[in-house]
Each structure stands twice: as structure tokens, then as C-alpha cells.
Amino acid sequence: MGRLQPYALFAAAIVLPLVFSNGGFVNFLADAGAFVLLALGLNVVVGFAGLLDLGYAAFFAIGSYTFAMLASPQFGIHIPFWVMLFVASGVAAVFGILLGAPTLRLRGDYLAIVTLGFGEIVPQTFLNLSQWTGGPNGIGSLDQPAIFNFRFGFQALPYYYLILGLIAVAVLAASNLRASRLGRAWMAIREDELAAAHAGINTTTTKLAAFAIGASFSGLAGCAYASKLQLVSPDQFGFNVSVAVLSMLVLGGMGNIPGVIVGSLVISSLDRFILPQLTNFMHGFGISIDLTNSRFLIYGVILVLTMLFRPEGLIPSRQRKAELRAGPDVLPAEQTLYTEAAP
């Protein structure tokens, strides 16, 4: 990839809603952007550190509710949006550590199941703490961001630029982390936890850092998404959200930032455009199947197809491609052992 390519893409993303200024389209872009943020955060946990998290939506919920409770008429507290970005990502990070700590000894399937549990518990808790969270109705009329006297209002465009800015920050943060002492430690843990510990890596704090940083990204996403929607409610953060974000990673290419972005854009547009369009198209032929109702079936089919034909994802990292394409031991130690060992 060229060095300038990210900047060119960023410039294109700035111009895009000015060229295609249809309100519905810009609205879609802003929502898709929030999911790009989520995918970038989950990528730190799953892609970099190799910790399978099936309950990532919990942190999205925590970020959103933090914003909702501290910037709405709910308690009459109105902390400015820009401050809340830091607060919400901080709160999400703290919960990342709290929820990460009990799972540190777990690996693979066991870790996945525990995180799945957290993902269910958190929205349930928000549902039942109705004196603070408004229960099933959630919290409404959330504050809107403002820059000096300019209030964001109900147009999608300012939110789009806000989320684009957050994505830029997240991409920069994730790629810096990847190429650092911490990023190497995450990779080492993913490759071989025992060997990593023997290299002097404190696996406890390193894994907690992954959970915390991954969660903090979803805190940002939660703030932006909630303020745009003006509403939070428990049903926005179900298991389907965790699965959708994970599908974005798998489809796009786990561990690789451009891949993750493309994966989440593909899934989002599938959801908003491709399925409704196909449904309309089929209606035209007298076939009345609503594909949008079977979106999870379709995600599933896409994942199975990805695993069969391109297990490394659409735009994989060099590493993951090698890992999944290498097959069983290219240079097997055992073979060398038997052919070269002195008698």
C-alpha cells in the first residue's frame, strides 16, 4: 500500500457526501461510520491480541448509556459532548478492564463463552435499572454536539464529519499501537502466550490493555451514535450487534485495518441498500420474500463462503494470509529431525 493512499481515501471520504448529498445516503454513511469505529475497536481485541470477544456490543452500550445519562434531561446533567467523548471512552475502558479481568485465565472457546455472557448481561442490566435508564423506553432527547454556536441538529452531515474525524483518530491510534512495544506484545500473546511470558511480557496487563483500548473505541462510537440518534434503548445493543461487528472483521480481514474498514462498509451497505434493493427487485417479479428479515441468515452464508473461499478475508494482513494459507507445517520440524539427525 502506498504511503499516500490513506490520505487520498480520507480526502475522498470528506468529499463523498458533498457529491452524493442525498439525505438518506449521508445518514447511512454516518451510521456505517459508527460501525467502522466499533470494528476498529474489536479488531484491537480479536485481531491484534487474539482474544475472541463475542460480547463487544456491551461496551458500545456502556459508552452510549454513559453519554445518555450525563448529557440529557434524564438527570438534568448536560456535560458538553466533546468532554463526554473522553468520559464515555474512559468509562468503557474501565469496564473493559473489569470485564476482562475475570477472563484472563481463559482462552479460545471458554473466553468466547464468558464474553458472550457479558454481552447479554449488560443490556439486560440497563433494561432492568429502569429508575436510571428508563427501562425498555431508554433515554431520549439526548444533547447534540455543538461547535461554538453551531448546533449539530438533525441533519446527518455534521455527524458524518464527526464520525469521520473519530475514525481518523482511531485508525491512527490502532496503527501506531500495532507498530509498537505493546502491539508486538499483543501479537506475541496471540502466537504463543507461554513463550510471550518467557520473553518478559506481563500477559495480564497486556491483555487488559487490549480489552481497555478496544472498549474505549466503542465508547467513542457510542457517544457519536447516541447523540446522532438522540436516543438509547437496550434493544440497540443485543447479541446481533456483537455478531455483526465480528462478521465485519472476519469478512474484511482480521487484524488488518483497511480490511476491517472495508468489511464493515460491505456489511453495512448490505444491510441498508443491497438487501432492500434486492427485495424490491424481486417484488418486481412477483416474488415476495423480504430479504431484510433474513439478514442473519445471509450474514451466516457470507461467513461460510468467506471461510471456504477466502478465510483470510477480503483485504488480509500479510500475517493472517500466511497463517491461513500455509497449511500443515511447510517445513515440518519432525521431518527435518528424522532426515538430518545424526545416527
Binding site: N176, A179, G183, A196, Q319, L331, A333, A341
Partner: protein, 253 residues
Amino acid sequence: MALLQLESVSLHFGGLVAVDKLDFSVEAGSIVTMIGPNGAGKSTVFNLITGIYAPSGGRITFDGRTISGLKTSTIAAGGISRTFQNIRLFAFMSALDNVMTGEHARMRANVLDSLLHTPAQRAEERRVRERAFELLRFVKLDHVGENYARNLAYGMQRRLEIARALAAEPKLLLLDEPAAGMNANEKGELIDLIRRIRDLGVTIFLIEHDMRLVKQISERITVLDHGEKIAEGLPDAVCADPKVIEAYLGAPA
């Protein structure tokens, strides 16, 4: 005073005694070897030293401090590095990244430095990268620095593991069967490498089965059988010890 000292160290798994009241020490600057039949508990001793297992009894001291019960990463950062009987490299990281990871405990960049790539962080990365290259040169792998560890030939992987261990600048290097699977040529190079490492001032404690190699480099040999020390001393004397011969070949009829 000895660099590493095991005092009456035991390890029990339920009723099974894996290591039984082992007394053992390694002097600074020496090359010592532990031998013994398969299943004697040699690798378990390494695992006790590096904190994978906490001893059921006894005490391990290193460089004047008690290390038994500490976390593996703390012990590693404190100056004990190791290689593994079955190579455990970071398979899908480059050879260079493997060695740089070995320097982890010596680096200072915290989360914020890593996030922001501060000037200090960049300077440290450059230093660490250069030092990793030096180490690759030291084990004659500088020409394959960008390759994934997994794609290196077997003998190279063994050397890369040693380079990663040295990256932590250990005082004590534990080598678990470093010559396993090597041909005569590679073994010769390994002996040379081990001596060069000792010349850097690193104390070496190895487990090895190849007696020719053991006799050529070790200054002292300890023999372990069923978790117990059955002999200790100079290579020739130990090999002639009837108890050692019995452990390997069985009692005379």
C-alpha cells in the same frame, strides 16, 4: 555465591512426585548440564525455575533473591531466559520481530508512548531494532530477518530461539535440548555458539541428551532420575558412575 540455587525443591502433582527435594546450584559464568532418562523431570526443573510451576516445597534463589512463586514474566525480566524443547517461536512474526519481542522487558515505552509514537518511543524502537539485527548477526541469521519464523529451516529456528532469549540480556540462559534434531555440522556450530554466549558473560544451564556435545562443553553435569538427583560432578566421573549407568541401562542382571 551461586547465581542460581535450588534448595530442597519439590514438586508434587497430587500423589505423583515429579521433583523430589532437589538441591542444585549453578555458579556464575559456568556451563552446566542436566542429563537423565526421558521423563526424569529435567524440563520440569526448567519450568520450576521459570515460574510455570510454583514448587510444592523448597526455595529457588537467583542472583540473591527468592524467585520461587513469582510470575514467569517477572522472572524473565529479572534475568533468566530460556529456549524450549519443542521450539516455541512466534511462528507468524518475522525473525526480527521475534528478537525485538525478546527485548520487551528492557523497553520503557508505555501505552501512551505506543499510542502517540513519541520521539522517545521512536528512538527506542530504532535502538531495539538495531540491537535485534546485531543478535541476528550473532546467530548468523541476519540474512533472513524479514522471514516468518515458521518458514525458517529447523536449525535456524533453534538459533532464532536462542537469539530471542539473548535479547532480554539474561544473566542465566536455560537451553532445553538445543541440539535435538541437529546434524553433526549443526552441532559443531551450536557448540561454538554456546561458547560465544558464555564469553558474553552469560551463564548457561542446559538439558541435553547428546553426550559427545555435553562432554565437550559442560564443566559440570547433574544427573536426574525419577525427579531425584543421583549424581553430580565432572563429565567423565559422572559417566562412569554405576548409578548413572543403571539409570540409563537398568540394573545388571
